[in-house]
């Protein structure tokens, strides 16, 4: 598994294998030392090494240029011009995912929530496990690492569920996300040329694109892992059926949101303390979560918007209203639509290249002046793509709705629905100009 995972990563760029290897070695050794010492001071120091090393890697490769540019911008706003140069840094694929994964391991060992492993091969396999190496789910050592220690016996039903999940993930990526990308790229490349309605549709389509793209990848990763007998955590649980923002975050990128909950929110005090402290903790988590996605103010604002939307629920103690009740009735529809709407508006900041572009995009959208729909019916090709998107999104929502009603955490296909979805992939998928997975850039 280690060889397969390293080959998989080397296929993209072998030069960055050293980074994963270093991250693995440092955390393996730190955890072993943490296990063997009881000195609080030493343990804190060891944890600090792991945190500084992992966040240092992330900081350098992902945020170095952002900090330099923001520093220069801040001074220039004060009238001081500075001459600096940024570095031409390639962002290693998956660095945000595997650094968080190894970091959670050392923190758990530090908290004595788990015992450090003595087996370097198993730990290396845990860090570099190829199905989820480049875009998650961000696994916890307590869940994934023990699976490398036990002998796996092939379970046909489990593997078959993985196979179905791969088909479903491919459908979401190749059919929904890549077809949506056709319009989304056009609209976001020059938003000034489109009507309010087209801009609104651009945001809605991006909502489906990013969901299809990222949850599609997660499903494929989970499915591939199952073929090898490994269980990965659920990463998406039908987020667009959420009835409020709190529920949305219990359904969207679950492995990241729970990571921030366990390693940032709770250490900050969580929901204990005064109202002010709770609000502060929530805002910090959302802002950091936004920043995790990329070195751009757009992501920070995106996180901030979600934080602001979350606060009223926290203050009125309604943020856990929809924890247990998962089944939907038509009474829930207005709430679902409203949640989807605000999430969609926030996506504009996520997708736009700069805050200024996002601001202009939303300004034009909310002018409600032009309701032209021409882009989607401009010619036969555009009409065709529009129909494909409409149909495929309807298919996806249909399957997801039934999964939600059955209280399932993933879409469970039957043999015949798997055949149907496969045929839809073949004849509706984008194979000629496919888009890269969006989350590879994070």
């Amino acid at each position: 598994m280690v060889i397969a995972s390293y080959l998989f990563y080397a296929w993209w760029d072998w030069r960055f294998l050293g980074l994963i290897a270093m991250s693995t070695l440092v955390d393996f050794m730190v955890a072993k030392r943490l296990q063997s010492t009881n000195s609080k001071k030493t343990r804190k120091f060891l944890l600090l090494i792991s945190v500084v090393f992992n966040l240092g890697l992330l900081g350098f490769f992902k945020y170095f240029n952002f900090f330099i540019e923001s520093w220069v911008d801040a001074w220039s706003n004060l009238g001081v011009s500075m001459q600096t140069s940024t570095l031409d840094i390639i962002l290693p694929v998956g660095i945000s995912f595997y650094t968080f994964q190894t970091l959670s391991y050392t923190i758990d060992v530090y908290r004595r929530k788990m015992v450090a492993t003595n087996n370097l091969i198993q730990f290396t396999a845990f860090v570099s496990f190829f199905p989820q190496l480049v875009a998650g789910p961000i696994e916890r050592a307590s869940h994934l690492l023990p699976q490398f220690k036990v002998k796996r016996i092939f379970d046909s039903q489990f593997a078959l569920s993985g196979f179905y999940l791969i088909i479903w993930g491919l459908f979401k990526k190749v059919v929904i996300a890549d077809n949506c990308a056709f319009f989304v790229n056009q609209i976001f490349d020059s938003p000034g040329g489109y009507s309010s309605l087209e801009l609104f549709m651009g945001a809605v389509l991006f909502a489906f694109q990013i969901y299809g793209d990222f949850s599609g990848y997660s499903d494929i990763a989970i499915g591939v892992a199952r073929l090898f007998g490994f269980s990965l955590m659920t990463n998406f649980a039908f987020p667009y059926f959420a009835r409020d923002i709190a529920e949305f975050w219990r359904r969207w990128h679950i492995s990241l949101s729970t990571w921030f909950r366990d390693y940032v929110y709770i250490p900050l005090g969580g929901s204990r303390g005064t109202s002010w402290e709770r609000l502060r903790n929530v805002m910090i988590v959302f802002l950091v979560s936004g920043f995790w996605h990329g070195a751009n103010w757009t992501f920070i604002i995106w996180g901030g918007i979600h934080g602001v939307l979350f606060l009223p629920l926290l203050l009125t103690k309604t943020n856990r209203t929809h924890v247990l009740s998962t089944r939907m009735t038509y009474h829930h529809l207005p709430k679902i639509l409203l949640t989807f709407l605000v999430v969609t508006i926030a996506w504009v900041f996520f997708r736009a290249d700069t805050v200024g572009i996002a601001y202009n995009y939303l300004s034009d959208l909310f002018q409600f002046q032009d309701f032209s729909f021409k882009l989607f019916t401009k010619n036969s090709k555009m009409t065709l793509f529009s129909l494909i998107i409409l149909f495929s999104v309807a298919v996806m929502l249909f399957f997801e709705f039934w999964a939600v009603q059955k209280d399932e955490r993933e879409v469970v296909l039957s043999k015949y629905s798997a055949i149907l979805i496969s045929i839809l992939i073949i004849f509706m998928g984008v194979f000629k100009n496919p888009s890269d997975f969006i989350y590879f850039q994070f």
């Binding site: 078959l160 196979f163 090709k381 043999k415 055949i419 073949i426 004849f427 998928g429 194979f431």
Partner: protein
């Protein structure tokens, strides 16, 4: 593992079988239609012999209007040019024309002017339009000469049609559904294969000077097309289409050439740098007709 393999096997087999059926039906539907030029030639064109045919890319498609030429010269012509294609594709079109049992006196070759000297021909963006005829050896051979993935998918569609149909689903599969419903529909060309770019608000200003570039007809497909024409008793005429900012100097006398690259000297004739608009098409067709009359009365090559 057995139940897993059995289930996966059943799903894969049924999916492949249904996809093959759909793909084969899709290609059949296109073959019965007039949607793309290759099937338009087979289904819509009843004549077997022509005075001339036009082969070429978007330049040939939009510069020469056979209706104008025929009304002046009194000929029967057909425009078989397809946009975004290379000389290699135009060679296949000639083979397709001959394979359908049709004949012509003249073959007017009108690719983009730079194509004449392309040494390494590549799969053209619209070569999938021959996919319904992949069972024909000349189409299969055309695809098999290229190493790129798209060409391989088209080539192996001979054995597994879903490869090409799925890859080019928006260009092949969906038009084939349309073709089932409307078999007479043509994809942006008239009943003689002509098409024009709109006469958009072109400026009306004289073009004073043009840069010149040389054409040597070094593309290996020139010899192949000439050889095929000679074998069929067809006279090949290389037509150099009007250009806005450039003109062509011929440095090879092996071919009969009508060089109209410098014939239009006002921007109002042009859609862009290498394509004329509807006004330019009329002017070009008239000029061509005038020269064609002269050519027809002269022994070949003079």
């Amino acid at each position: 593992m057995k139940p897993f393999l059995k289930n996966v096997g059943i799903i894969v087999l049924i999916t492949v079988a249904l996809s093959a059926l759909l793909s084969t039906t899709s290609l059949w539907s296109l073959r019965q239609s007039n949607f793309y030029k290759p099937s338009f030639l087979a289904n819509s064109i009843t004549e077997d012999s022509f005075d001339y045919i036009i082969l070429g890319a978007s330049t040939g498609l939009t510069t020469l209007n056979t209706n104008v030429i025929d009304s002046i010269v009194g000929t029967v012509g057909l425009n078989l040019a397809m946009d975004d294609t290379s000389l290699a594709t135009q060679y296949v079109m000639l083979e397709h024309f001959i394979a359908l049992g049709k004949s012509t006196t003249y073959c007017i070759l009108a690719p983009s002017n730079t194509s004449y000297d392309v040494i390494n021909n590549r799969l053209s963006n619209n070569d999938y339009r021959f996919l319904p005829y992949v069972q024909n050896e000349y189409v299969y051979q055309h695809y098999s000469q290229y190493a790129i993935r798209e060409a391989k998918l088209l080539q192996y569609s001979k054995f597994m049609p879903m490869l090409g149909v799925a890859y080019y689903n928006s260009e092949v599969f969906y038009p084939s559904i349309n073709a089932l419903l409307y078999p007479e529909k043509r994809n942006r060309f008239d009943e003689r294969g002509n098409y024009t770019y709109p006469g958009k608000n072109a400026e009306n200003s004289p073009i004073v000077s043009k840069d010149t570039f040389e054409v040597d007809f070094s593309n290996p497909y020139m010899k192949a097309i000439k050889s095929l024409c000679d074998k069929q008793g067809i006279q090949l005429i290389c037509y150099l289409t009007p250009m806005k900012e450039k003109s062509v100097k011929i440095i090879n006398n092996d071919y009969l050439v009508l060089n109209h690259s410098d014939s239009l000297s006002n921007t109002r004739y042009f859609f862009d740098g290498i394509h004329v608009n509807s006004t330019g098409r009329v002017a070009s067709s008239l000029l061509f007709a005038e020269q064609f009359i002269k050519l027809k009365n002269l022994p070949f090559g003079e």
